[in-house]
Amino acid sequence: MMAVCRHELKSCFHTLTAWVFGAFLLVFVGIWAMRYNIQAAMSSFEYVLGNSTVLFAVLIPLLTMRSIAEERKQKTDQLLYSLPISTTEVVLGKYLALLAVFLVPLAVIALYPLIFAQYGEVYLPTSYGSLFAFFLLGASLIAVGVFLSSLTENQGMAAGIGVAVILLNYYSVSLSEYVSQSATGTVAVLVVLAVLLGLLVRQLTRNGNLAYGVSFVLIAVITVVLWRDSTLFEGLLPRVMAQLSLFERFYTFVNGIFDLTAVVYYLTVTAFFLFLTVQSLEKRRYN
């Protein structure tokens, strides 16, 4: 695992991705810090980070797009498969390397509150609390990016989908105001999702019966719940969309609350997408 990690780290710095990523992150966080903390003389560093999160929509795909897609394109994934290391080790090694690349600019940013504290009153616990959450948010988005990179051998495609997915997640709370609040609307969306899930299962397992079974059972469950208590579905969709937002949970930290459930949520999302990445790589051997 460490071999893969070291190798990935080296190639990140070799191909400039790490430098570009770090530079852009520092520049934009620096601009916000200048405007808020220096020009407007606000004492809380949290808002700087709060405003910088949208940067992830561009920077994270930039960092993660080549991680696995490039291996596949150059056929070096065959080497990784034939080496005595497991797919999990490969994915974890790559992920840790990207995390390390992400930590470099964060280490510089971590100095800012200390510097500002020299010239005024800065409440450090909330500053570092949000910086920690900023790291977790980035870490989970990197996991998403690595997963997307494992789906294609085209870096551009991986990056494009990455930007779209992260932006969608970024705006999901504001978008949730526009989706149907009524029970019927929710049920309609759930049924469509059940069918889509069935199609996905069929695509992955090539097992038609299993796919139809999954769809059928889900639709049956929805029908039963609807029949018993239709009020359950009211407002469900916007609620779920708001819950899924990784960014929304970050603002809790910005507002000065250390939210443990959010920490658990970030870690879960990270683990889930890394697991999916391993599965995606494993699946390729079964093609």
């Binding site: 460490m2 071999a3 893969v4 070291r6 190798h7 080296k10 190639s11 070799h14 191909t15 150059q74 056929k75 070096t76 994934d77 065959q78 080497l79 498969y81 034939s82 080496l83 005595p84 290391i85 497991s86 090539r206 051997r285 079964y286 093609n287």
Partner: protein, 362 residues
């Protein structure tokens, strides 16, 4: 050393390898031979754990590649069809990564890198970027990678494809050297290559193992009858009468007279000592007072066997053409023991008049 049991691999509904079983012993060089698309690469990918089998299993030194992959893969060095190289790195950096991934550390790693660099002869390229290396050197770096950690089995997928003749000779020598200390398995669709380097040959066609033997054993076991071609200006009936005496002739085909009043006679014989038959023919003609203008001999070679085996299961003409192409490519490497070594066989001719003509032109 390697045991493949009932290996089967389907890509969707298309079978690539069907119920393949074989056992490969310790030491020696083994050749996987087969026309393009026969399932050689798939078999190798299955053996190295790069692909999962639909059915069946592979044991490397008793370790199952799917159930105990780490232990099994430690015993294998694999060079896929396209060398898996990180083009932005130097061979040294690349080998360092592979060595570390194989669990080598510190001086052991440095010593092993040094060893494989020497063995594959890439010393003067060690600090250049891999993207700047020629195809032959890239291939060598790929082989160096397979040799790291001194695995007992080295599997090379078409290591000589796309190289120039001098590079091909270099790689072949390397494979032969490796065969002294490792079990080497390599695939090729070029027959002469397999014939010159391998101790044993596995012929694969359409995902099935059709033969597994030594080159000599294959020739012996599957020997098609030898062929003698005669040209004379005598009367066909007289020729027939003269040849009727000779034993071991189990087929005769007399072509009618052409514009120069010559007839061509094709004799098939099952006798291994083809010169014994040709001597009798010569004496029979001399005794009957027939002028023998030309006589050429052709012994069945591995190529014929290869064609025969791979075509038996391949009725499509296109595939036969491919196999013939491979046989032609192998022509240069054949020892020219007999004056006329036309390679046409009955099977090749059956495959289509077109391919037959091509062969005769050779």
């Amino acid at each position: 050393m390697i045991q493949a049991e009932h290996l089967t691999k389907y890509y969707g509904d298309i079978p690539a390898v069907v119920d393949l079983s074989f056992t490969i012993g310790e030491g020696h060089v083994y050749g996987f031979l087969g026309p393009n698309g026969a399932g050689k690469s798939t078999t190798m990918n299955l053996m190295t754990g790069c692909l999962s089998a639909t059915e069946g299993r592979v044991l490397i030194d008793g370790k199952d590649i799917f159930e105990n992959p780490k232990e099994a893969k430690r015993r294998i060095g694999y060079l896929p069809e396209q060398p898996p190289l990180y083009l932005g790195e130097t061979p040294e950096e690349y080998l360092k990564f592979v060595g570390e991934a194989k669990g080598l550390r510190g001086t052991a790693l440095r010593d092993d890198i040094e060893r494989v660099i020497q063995e594959t002869g890439i010393a003067e390229m060690r600090r250049r970027r891999i993207s700047a290396l020629s195809k032959g050197y890239k291939q060598r770096v790929g082989i160096a990678q397979a040799l790291l950690g001194n695995p007992r089995v080295i599997i090379l997928d078409e290591p000589t494809v796309g190289l120039d003749p001098i590079q091909i000779i270099g790689i072949r020598d390397l494979i032969r050297d490796l065969g002294r200390s490792h079990t080497v398995i390599f695939s090729s669709h070029i027959l002469s290559e397999v014939q010159t380097i391998c101790d044993e040959i596995l012929i694969i066609a359409h995902g099935k193992l059709v033969a597994f033997d030594t080159p000599e054993g294959l020739e012996k076991k599957l020997l098609s009858p030898g062929q003698i071609t005669l040209v004379t200006d005598a009367d066909p009936e007289a020729v027939q009468a003269a040849l009727a005496e000779i034993s071991h002739i189990n087929g005769m085909d007399i072509q009618p007279q052409d514009e120069d009043n010559l007839i061509t006679v094709q004799l098939n014989t099952d006798q291994e000592d083809i010169h014994g038959v040709s001597r009798q023919v010569f004496q029979a003609f001399a005794g009957a007072g027939i002028d023998l203008l030309e006589m050429s001999l052709k012994k069945a070679s591995l190529e014929d066997i290869f064609l025969e085996l791979t075509e038996d299961s391949a009725p499509e003409e296109a595939e036969a053409g491919e196999a013939v192409g491979a046989a032609e490519a192998a022509e240069g490497g054949q020892p020219a023991e007999i004056a006329a070594t036309s390679t046409s066989t009955e099977t090749a001719e059956e495959a289509g008049a077109e391919t037959g003509e091509e062969e005769n032109a050779v």
